[in-house]
């Protein structure tokens, strides 16, 4: 989780990713950010997030994103 928080914070230092749960809904992160995050996650966790998983529910919070990574690692 720490590595993920670091990825996110590097992208948007002004956002508190530990508490924010409306990253997509409130347009805090946009499509460019999402692609950058996916690319960084691929580097860090060696997990490929497919296009069909790019939905607001999976990207609205760091926690949701972390759960997605864990689910994809398990599959």
């Amino acid at each position: 989780m720490d590595a993920l928080l670091e990825i996110l914070t590097n992208l948007h230092p002004e956002v508190d990713f530990e508490t924010c749960s409306t990253l997509v809904d409130d347009k805090i992160i946009d499509s460019f950010d999402i692609v950058t995050i996916i690319s960084e996650i691929n580097e860090e966790y060696d997990v490929v997030i497919p296009a069909e998983e790019i939905v607001p529910d999976n990207f609205n919070s760091a926690q949701a994103l972390y759960q997605l990574i864990q689910r994809l690692e398990d599959e």
Binding site: K27, D30, S31, F32, I34, V35, T36, I38, S39, E40, N42, E43, V48, I49, P50, A51, E52, I54, V55, E75
Partner: protein, 531 residues
């Protein structure tokens, strides 16, 4: 049968009456019949193409669903015996089979679109290359039919089939219901490009007559006709005068033409979508919004989140994300990071997929270099804006102006000018002329040229200009109310009954009296019909 023709108004009147008088279970079949009649009237030959798209999507979506069900059943039956690796390998093999079906469907449908829409463009470019190399030979153009709304219904249907492949939508088991989703007549000619899961429920369910919903729909339809007939079709005369005679209308008038076109396009396209959404609303059907006051955007990214929203999200979901997160792209990103460092490596997926999106957006709008260059110019501006983001951030950290309303106003005006200048590619006949006229706007700008006499020479009278000014104030006011207080129709509906009727009849009177040529005069089709 254009939206602005008497025959169309008569057509929706009949459909509306039948919709609420026939048994409720006949509502969606009636809409399907109406959609096919609408398309048949446009041209019987169009039915072959929309029929082929519907049947191919139906067959493939059922196959995709069947493969998924087969997979789930197999995994369930062998739950205890399959290892994790075996399960993964089995799923991958099913996905590969699904992918082949999806690819077949995409190639078939996008192939039809490409052949019909772009063959002559390719021939023209090939002939240009032949001429450049001094060859006397030329390939003849081919006479192809271009079915009305093909770009819209093809993209909508391909969105559906991709959703079924991804598992985010189930396949529609009833061919006729799917046929209605593909051909629903109010949105057939200029969108919005709906998603199956957004539209399907309200499209197929039974609707009782509801005074409020019907009233809201009628207000929306009238507002759409007002924008189209009173504003867009009036200002069109001046726009055409300016852009068709670039030798005469230079300098300041290039700027005037650019701004007039921005207003025309807004009134035309949003007016058409208001009519579409309004018609659907009178029948209890919810169609996705396509605009959210785009000319109040403070930057180009925000503009594209508010303008032609369904097209933008379509390109993001089905082109931008799949390209930017596919395995080869991630490998390329890794390679670029290792070779050129983090700064470049990180940008590779975003830049390449954005380029693909804007190239496709451009060519989707039309088979001409003007549209391709327009798309790519959007790409350039968005990327420059993206790269300048840290500078903006520094500026905003130093100067606390972000919440200042005047600063916000300047940002809005800047975005309107920027987007309007890119739209010049829609106007002039070719790309070099567009660039030349853009430069000319600055080099030949003389304030004294913009006199009353010259404006009256654009084909509009003094009364027309006064009317357009009043309409502009009205459009801006409605947008600001929507932005700050939400639905204007909620406010009208909450007002005393007399006010509600007054607004309704004033809108009808405005369209009938001030409509540039009146409903029924098919002076111009909607700009987006041609895409």
């Amino acid at each position: 049968m254009l939206f602005t023709s008497y025959s169309f108004i008569g057509f929706i009147g009949i459909v509306f009456l039948l919709y609420y008088t026939l048994p409720r279970s006949w509502q969606w079949p009636l809409l399907l019949a109406a959609s096919y009649v609408f398309y048949f009237i446009a041209s019987p030959s169009y039915l072959i193409f929309i029929g082929a798209t519907t049947v191919s999507a139906y067959v493939v979506s059922l196959r995709l669903d069947a493969l998924k069900e087969e997979q789930d059943a197999y995994i369930k039956a062998n739950k205890g015996t399959l290892t994790r690796e075996e399960k993964k390998a089995y799923k991958a093999s099913v996905k590969a089979r699904q992918w082949k079906w999806l690819l077949l469907c995409l190639l078939f449908n996008l192939g039809i679109l490409a052949v019909l829409k772009y063959t002559n463009f390719v021939i023209a470019n090939f002939n240009g290359i032949l001429s450049a190399f001094g060859s006397g030979g030329q390939i003849s153009f081919v006479d192809l039919v271009l079915p009305m709304g093909i770009s819209f219904y093809t993209f909508q249907t391909m969105g559906y089939i991709i959703d079924v492949y991804r598992g985010t939508s189930r396949a529609e088991k009833n061919l006729f219901r799917l046929a209605l989703f593909v051909s629903f007549f109010p949105q057939l000619v200029q969108g919005p490009i709906s998603r199956y899961h957004d539209l399907a429920r309200s499209l197929y369910e039974r609707h009782d007559f509801n005074t409020k919903t019907v009233s809201y729909g009628l207000y929306r339809i009238l507002w759409g006709y007002f924008k189209k007939a009173v504003v867009a079709d009036r200002i069109l005369t001046a726009v055409n005068t300016i852009i068709q005679d670039p030798d005469t209308y230079q300098g300041g008038f290039v700027f005037v033409g650019m701004m007039f076109y921005a207003l025309e396009l807004y009134a035309d396209f949003t007016g058409g979508i208001d009519i579409t959404i309004g018609i659907a609303e009178t029948m209890g059907i919810t169609v996705t919004e396509n605009f959210q006051r785009p000319y109040l955007s403070k930057n180009i990214k925000e503009y594209w989140n508010r303008w032609h929203i369904t097209m933008g999200t379509w390109f993001t979901d089905y082109i931008f994300y799949p390209i930017s997160v596919c395995k080869p792209m991630l490998r390329l990103s890794r390679f670029s990071r290792a070779r050129f460092g983090d700064i470049i490596g990180k940008r590779v997926p975003v830049y390449l997929s954005s380029f693909a999106v804007w190239f496709t957006t451009g060519i989707w709008h039309g088979a001409s270099w003007n549209f391709i260059v327009w798309g790519l110019m959007n790409f350039v501006v968005i990327m420059i804006s993206q790269e300048c983001e840290p500078l903006y951030q520094k500026f905003h950290n130093k100067f606390d102006v972000k919440e200042n309303k005047w600063y916000g106003f300047i940002e809005i005006i800047r975005t309107i000018f920027l987007m309007s200048s890119l739209r010049m590619f829609d106007c002039y006949r070719d790309v070099p002329l567009t660039f030349r006229m853009f430069g000319n706007m600055f080099t030949h700008f003389r304030l004294r040229d913009l006199n009353a006499e010259a404006f009256l020479g654009l084909g509009l009278t003094g009364a027309d200009y006064v009317l357009l000014f009043v309409c502009l104030i009205l459009l801006v006011s409605v947008s600001l109310i929507q932005e700050k207080k939400g639905s204007v129709r909620d406010l009208i509906y909450a007002a005393p009954e007399l006010c509600r009727y007054a607004v309704f009849f004033l809108l009808i009177l405005a369209v009938v009296i001030f409509g540039a040529y009146g409903i029924g005069f098919d002076q111009s089709q909607f700009i987006y019909n041609q895409f």
